[in-house]
Symmetry: C2
Subunit: 315 residues, 2 copies
């Protein structure tokens, strides 16, 4: 069985794209004709699925992966989560890797429950059955190893991946993640560096043939200097890089998340792609999927050009 990370890298090379599209269906930002016709949670769920299918159809040949953010589905309860399940399945059918942005975290048998449901299998009277069956899931490290290790068995058994939050893209990430610590030799470092070392270690047992690990890290595009430090601490860790686009990250900012081999970073854009129709006069709201395609083409071009400039483009 191919590992998650090797599968991801193959698709990155095949699509010639380091981009991932975040499917964060904030109904408030949807074209009016969706909003005006939804009078129940069920109808909102259906609208989200229709919206996502059109986005996926428009971008599936351009990117290796999609990243649905489950908060935007949970918001609408069972109907929303039903749309999530169908979006995951549709994305996989279209050849996309699906990274669930869920930031789950718990310990022991509870972490195992999350892992089994999202990336593993559950037992039903002796039969082993997949449930959400996403390719990878984001997880939060605040609980330490007890919260991460239970996922590693499913990563191994089913060719799945996890991305651990290390340094997030938001402003207040500094409140805890950037806290300064002095080690015994009097050297100062930051909390996210401690997390990085843990991630590097957790990832050692689940490396692919590419040399990269199926335990990745979330490293925000909005802090390129931090990314440079983290790149060195986690040389074999793939970075999932949020914050490109609306949050302010530019192509030049994400370069520090790449390795010398021109790999190592998957750059996420959500709102700047799926609501691109709001930012580009060329498109009206009915053309939201065309606008998304256009935004992804631009994003791929920007990232690839920046990599080329630094002789890091591998195609």
């Amino acid at each position: 069985m191919i590992t998650f990370i090797d599968n991801l890298i193959n698709k990155i090379k095949f699509k010639k794209s380091h981009a991932v599209v975040g499917l964060d269906p904030d109904f408030n930002n949807f074209p009016a004709y969706f909003k005006n016709n939804a009078y129940s949670l069920t109808e909102i769920g259906e609208a989200i699925l229709e919206f996502n299918i059109k986005i996926i159809d428009a971008i599936c040949d351009l990117v290796p992966a999609i990243k649905p953010q489950i908060a935007f589905y949970e918001r609408y309860g069972l109907d929303g989560i039903n749309a999530f399940v169908k979006t995951v399945n549709y994305g996989k059918k279209k050849g996309l890797i699906v990274i669930e942005d869920a930031k789950r975290n718990d310990i022991g048998s509870t972490a195992t429950a999350y892992s089994e449901g999202h990336i593993g299998r559950v037992e039903i009277n002796g039969k082993s059955v997949p449930v959400f069956d996403v390719d990878a899931i984001t997880v939060n490290p605040y609980l330490g190893s007890d919260g991460i290790v239970p996922f590693l068995q499913d990563v191994k058994n089913y060719g799945k991946g996890i991305f651990v939050l290390v340094k997030t893209s938001n402003k207040s990430s500094i409140e805890l993640q950037d806290i300064k610590i002095n080690d015994e030799d009097g050297k100062t470092y930051k909390l996210y560096e401690v997390v990085a070392k843990l991630v590097d270690n957790w990832g050692k047992t689940v490396k692919g043939k590419s040399g990269y690990s199926s335990v990745g890290a979330v490293v925000g595009a909005t802090f390129p200097t931090d990314a440079r430090i983290l790149r060195k601490l986690m040389p074999k860790t793939y970075f999932l890089v949020p914050g490109f686009g609306i949050q302010g990250g530019k192509a030049e900012d994400v370069i520090s998340s790449f390795n010398e081999d021109g790999l190592g970073a998957l750059i996420n854009a959500s709102r700047s792609v799926i609501y691109a129709y709001q930012f580009d006069e060329k498109f009206n709201e009915v053309q939201f999927a065309d606008a998304a395609r256009d935004a992804v083409l631009k994003m791929n071009k920007e990232i690839n050009q920046e990599l080329k400039k630094r002789q890091l483009l591998i195609w």
Copy 2:
């Protein structure tokens, strides 16, 4: 409208109980007659609901609250989450406060989406509709204020609560939460103390008439010395204390989570209550609900006796 925290305290006094029962339906631990009759996710979902209803019926007059851990429902996909929704509604109908253990965390509009779905309302064509509508939810602080503040509006508007992870009950919580930091005056403190100060601050705007805040903290029973430090740093914060029972926390260990007023701590037990039939020869598996009731009676007695010993019992 009564605040979450005042409502909780009223129910604590009325039931004469500081206990909360964790509804963590790990199907592997269910009585055999449940397991042998479930051949699909739907049947597992139905079995979980039936199990929960029997537990709730058996304990609803003895405790102020239940704490369903959503991981054990997500594990079984839509069918599991459907059982979660119905469990929440049944618990509320039986007069219990429902604290969803979800440890959610994200930033900005994504955090808002979680908040709206779990404790707030969503807009459907101008109508404001509750979705999961639990009374309170646990959240993870690793992303800083950006991940917490979006919940506070719904806490205020709808009389809801949140419990922020500060110091968790598991062994590896020390890896990050106990990291030592030197401040500018050369004083050493731990990361969880930084989180505690943030929690104290976040809670200031959502205090009830009791003086306590609707922003609570998760503080593990397995580290009583840490709880003592945290009690001082967060005097008006209610502690949700996991780790009682199977994880090793005893009545004497949880006392440090209480304030001088005999309030301030809600002690959780999950497996030691709902699977009590496994640990007590008096009961067979068909009597799992009776065993749970018995375990809660014992737990209430132990905690109340320990409080009495220290002249902290308020009834």
